[in-house]
Subunit: 329 residues, 2 copies
Amino acid sequence: MNTKLDESQISIVSGGAGFIGNQIIGRLISEGRGVAVVDNFSRGLRAHLDVFAHNSLLHIIEADLSIRRECMNAFDVAATKGRVVEVWHLAANSDIPAGVADPDVDLKDTFLTTFELLRCMKIFGIKSFHFASSSAVYGDLGSTPLHEGIVPLLPISNYGAMKLASEAQASAAAESFLERVNIFRFPNVVGIPATHGVIFDFILKLLSNQDVLHVLGDGSQQKAYMHVSDLVDAMFTVSSSKINEKIEVINIGPVDEGVSVRWIAEQVVARVSPYAKIKYGNGNKGWVGDVPRFNYSTDRLQSYGWSPKLNSSEAIIRAIDEIAIQKGF
Amino acid sequence: MNTKLDESQISIVSGGAGFIGNQIIGRLISEGRGVAVVDNFSRGLRAHLDVFAHNSLLHIIEADLSIRRECMNAFDVAATKGRVVEVWHLAANSDIPAGVADPDVDLKDTFLTTFELLRCMKIFGIKSFHFASSSAVYGDLGSTPLHEGIVPLLPISNYGAMKLASEAQASAAAESFLERVNIFRFPNVVGIPATHGVIFDFILKLLSNQDVLHVLGDGSQQKAYMHVSDLVDAMFTVSSSKINEKIEVINIGPVDEGVSVRWIAEQVVARVSPYAKIKYGNGNKGWVGDVPRFNYSTDRLQSYGWSPKLNSSEAIIRAIDEIAIQKGF
């Protein structure tokens, strides 16, 4: 971080065509850094990269990073663009229910992408790894405050399990060859370009039926949400800070109590289809692996002197408007 | 556990030809339970099963559980022997340096065996999973007491990483379909049939050169050791107890401070080759991923009213004698 940045230094961003990866690219390019985005375009859209079109700092490499030869090839190509100095690893399955139905999805898209990336980083001598982990590594601990180092890690979804597996592999890599690992445990994040998530799902449902919105669960699930602009800002604050340890594991999240699914449903309907009726299901979980509510400690993040600009309700309102526009409302 | 045991109930023991799996089989058979041992005989030896030869309770299935069709086939065969009610998962890479040199070893032998086993357990409706995890999931936390739920999990070896990945997958499986998961975090275990470990290595070295014993590191590494007879007894105490949660994560280990590598080397030499000279290397780690010393909390295990019969030095002395005999001294 203290070497002079120039175009010949390249950051690899895996999953750069996805929601958060896209925003990471934007931030890197705005800082004048060269970026090699690697994506298989399975969930992320090529169109999400159009906003950077013709920017000479951006290189697009299509590859499935869970497949060894494709991963190796991606690193070979990236190395022709400049000196690769770091990897931002955002590629992953983002569909928790899909991973519950078929564990292979999280194995391949979440864990094996991490495994193969780290393997190539060792081969190519790349020392800095920034990983998009998840609060899902904690599982469902009720109202126990989720501090980074003082609760058991018992994920309840294959998604969370493979995020934790990835953290573990990155931790071992830090001992073996990495010089800096940032493990960012993400909260629920909202914003654009949306590819999934509760707001996105509600708007899609209202696009296909403007009269009624069916909500999984009874709507009482309460979660805290962070806007992607705040998330990315927190990640760059941490990644550009000096730390004593090789590894920083850090919860990123808002400091408020969050909002209920019911409240979100009402806001989406108000913005998109004011006359729609909202119908709720049963129970306070939306699906197997869904954690209904948690108490997420962000003390460590706050020790960096950072706090989010938007609270959960402000983040949701802004994201609803952004996604509504993205979907043509 | 509260149903009547009979020969038609089968326990699958993966890695049953290995060191600890072998002892698990002995315990199950001594209790009159049917056992299907599944092993690929890559590190475990078929000869280790000779002690059970002609016992009608034992069924031997050769399969590499990390390969989907072989795992499925093993479950198919086991199901022809009786009703499979539980899986004891001992199959894993046991060679930490091998996994540091080539992460594929731990990926395949430690993690993918777990992944495929759990996948088959779901398909076959088997609800009880006993997993041999490791203190290596904690990494190197210096003198921090290692309690099951209140320290970060930052493994420093691929071995530890893939044990943690396996725990994570088992945890997600508990939410999805398992009724009981016991995650046993093993200490350093000694005894026979030895296939690896410090005593085994020292004796092998003295077999090839009876005059000098070269020790990795300066010999100051201090670790606590448990005899395999105590380990297995602890596992069965926990697995036969009723607990409130679906998942029990439990450190198994002795309560003493442990012994140094130097002391072990001296005991091995005294037993096997009294005139050999011991030569030490540098540093207090034997290899990348080796944790020099740790403070392992066994409060949770003690809450079961269980304690080991042998302390570290007694366990080492007994194991040296057992392994010396195994190797023909």
